[in-house]
């Protein structure tokens, strides 16, 4: 297993380099330099001042050099400075990151809590009316825009105190009840659609496993029905669900951008949108990089969990 982890960690390096290249060069494709953006049209500067500013903005060097300097700074924890506030970007991101992560985590938990049981029930009653209703609700769940669901929640719950965060954030440590209450609806808005995905995968995977010989053997041995389903079938059926869940964590993280906006939760998504509206490119660049890195790490963790749960995966990989 150790060898497998090292190998997977090493495979991250080219991906992360690629991600940083894309982020860096795409931002530099924007017409107009950061300096022009910063100066606006109202300010006049002398030639010496312009030279000084160019040096400060790093516009006096060729782009490849700038890239390496940027990566070097990143590795030292320097993510650059906001064009609008002049503050370093990293502390702002770190302040908001926990809110986005909390939202993503809660929506993941809700999605699994809703999706897995419904998927199991649906598979046990395959092709009945209940199964059909479940599938249709699942498809509707997949078709709902998260931000619309969120907007409807805001309309419906606006009279209930504490359910709609609207700007103020209370941390879990400060007041767990209030925290969970304010995160419930936003998490549900993101998690509902994903619950549908989980439900569909659980159902399909259970249907496949339930046909297998060892499940029939377990039943024939006279084991209680519940035990066969939960211990024998679900344990194996859950594997593909884990993979899908991990690989979709990014979808939840992406969803949080829109949902934070609707519920006015002060997370990273709101910061990103604000930065986009303000054309504050150092901030945009840093946030995209942070989210993509998180996403890559979550995918790695999914692979590792999968390999831990199913030795065949890592054996195949180690033989190569």
């Amino acid at each position: 297993m150790g060898k497998y982890i090292v190998k997977r960690l090493l495979s991250l390096i080219p991906v992360l380099i690629g991600v940083s290249l894309i982020v860096f060069f795409l931002v530099r494709m924007i017409p107009g330099s950061a300096l022009q953006m910063y100066m606006g049209t109202q300010v006049e500067a002398t030639a010496e001042q312009m030279e000084e500013l160019k040096r400060l903005f790093g516009e006096d060097k060729p782009i490849p050099v700038l890239y390496f300097e940027w990566v070097g700074d990143l590795l030292k924890g320097d993510f650059g400075y906001s064009l609008r506030t002049g503050r370093p970007v990293l502390p702002d991101i770190l302040n908001r990151l926990p809110i986005s992560l909390e939202l993503t985590l809660y929506s993941l938990i809700l999605a699994l809590l809703i999706g897995i049981p419904l998927g199991v029930v649906s598979s046990l009653h395959q092709n009945t009316f209940g199964d059909f209703i479940n599938r249709v609700i699942g498809l509707i769940g997949l078709s709902l825009p998260q931000f619309w669901l969120a907007a409807l929640m805001v309309i419906a719950f606006s009279n209930f105190q504490g359910w709609i965060p609207m700007g103020n954030y209370i941390s879990l440590l400060e007041d767990p009840v209030k925290n969970l209450k304010m995160f419930f609806l936003p998490s549900l808005a993101i998690g509902f659609g994903f619950a549908a995905v989980v439900m569909r995968y659980t159902r399909n995977s259970m249907l496949e496993v339930l046909q297998m010989d060892y499940v029939r053997t377990a039943k024939a041995k006279g084991l209680p029905h519940r035990k066969v389903i939960i211990i024998h079938a679900l344990k194996n059926a859950i594997l593909p669900v884990i993979t899908v869940t991990g690989f979709n964590a990014g979808y939840l993280l992406g969803g949080s951008i829109v949902i934070e906006e609707v519920f006015a939760l002060p997370g990273m998504g709101r910061l990103a949108l604000y930065a986009i509206n303000q054309r504050d490119y150092p901030v945009i660049q840093a946030i995209v990089l942070v989210i993509a890195t998180l996403f890559v790490l979550v995918n790695l963790m999914t692979d590792l969990v999968y390999a831990l749960a199913d030795p065949r995966i890592r054996l195949v990989d180690e033989k190569r």
């Binding site: 509707i140 825009p145 619309w148 907007a151 409807l152 309309i155 399909n204 046909q211 992406g254 951008i257």
Partner: protein, 278 residues
């Protein structure tokens, strides 16, 4: 594809009916709309839906008829989702097929690029591209299309690799068939099933992505109506005029549902493995 089988599958049929209804609405909107979707009317601001006034879905904060705006937005959604999917599918399939067929170095390079694009959550990538290109309808197509490229590349590559080892391909090679001939005559026709399903699902996701971008103010720009930007402007007034948010949202849900139903039905029909499960 076998048409009668498509029509016998209830799920696919339901999806097809929804899509055809929307297509009809989009065609009708080119010739006739109940009201001018752009005309503001100070006397008709935020009218609740009623049959008497003719505003079946009510009016928005500028007194514009919501039904007319939804109808007008249908074409916008169709055009964006079809062209973005086409863009992603054409480039992605081309990349994936060549990568899978050639193997070796080209495969490695193409798939590493796809891996890197995959490292961005799709909505984030689309938002990022829009932030760079600027808010414009064609940029929405470009942003969503780019998001789709790695998805199509990965699926078509997998399908080609699974197919490549088959005897009929080897037979064609030993008969002296060229690479391009084998690709176009033997490989491509045999990987259409997973691609058709993916196209149908991509059309639905494109509508969701477009509406999310427009909702965030990064997509189709007002006053041109798109379902997403209608919801965006509804946010200011939806507490006391919920119809401004409800109907555009329903328009999105039903069309996306149509494509999802069709995609699901197609998968049932085209994927023999699942057919056995049923």
């Amino acid at each position: 594809m076998n048409t009668p089988r498509l029509l016998r599958n209830k799920i696919a049929l339901a999806g097809l009916i929804l899509i055809v209804l929307y297509l009809l609405m989009s065609v009708v909107s080119l010739f006739w709309l109940p009201f001018d979707p752009l005309a503001m009317n100070a006397e008709q601001i935020l009218q609740a839906p009623s049959i008497g006034s003719g505003h079946l879905f009510g009016t928005d904060e500028f007194g514009r008829d919501i039904l007319s705006r939804i109808m007008k937005g249908t074409s916008v959604s169709f055009i964006i989702s079809v062209s973005a999917t086409a863009l992603g599918a054409i480039i992605g399939i081309f990349m994936g097929v060549w990568a899978g067929y050639l193997g070796g170095k080209p495969d490695n390079i193409i798939m590493r690029i796809a891996d890197i694009l995959f490292s961005f959550p799709s909505l984030l990538l689309a938002i990022f591209i829009m932030a760079i290109l600027g808010e414009h309808t064609y940029n929405v197509v470009l942003a969503i299309g780019i998001v789709y490229i790695p998805q199509f590349a990965r699926i078509s590559r997998g399908a080609i690799i699974a197919l490549k080892g088959n005897e009929f391909i080897r037979a064609a090679t030993s008969n002296g068939a060229g690479r391009t001939y084998i690709l176009t005559h033997h490989l491509l026709p045999n990987i259409t099933a997973p691609l058709i399903v993916q196209i149908s699902l991509s059309l639905s996701t494109a509508i969701l992505l477009e509406s999310a971008l427009s909702f965030l103010g990064l997509g189709v720009q007002p006053p041109n109506p798109s379902w997403g930007n209608m919801l965006s402007s509804a946010r200011k007034v939806m507490m006391f005029a919920p119809w401004t948010a409800v109907y555009p949202g329903l328009a999105i849900v039903l069309l996306v549902l149509g494509f999802n139903l069709l995609g699901d039905g197609l998968r049932d029909i085209l994927d023999p493995r699942l057919r056995n499960v049923r």
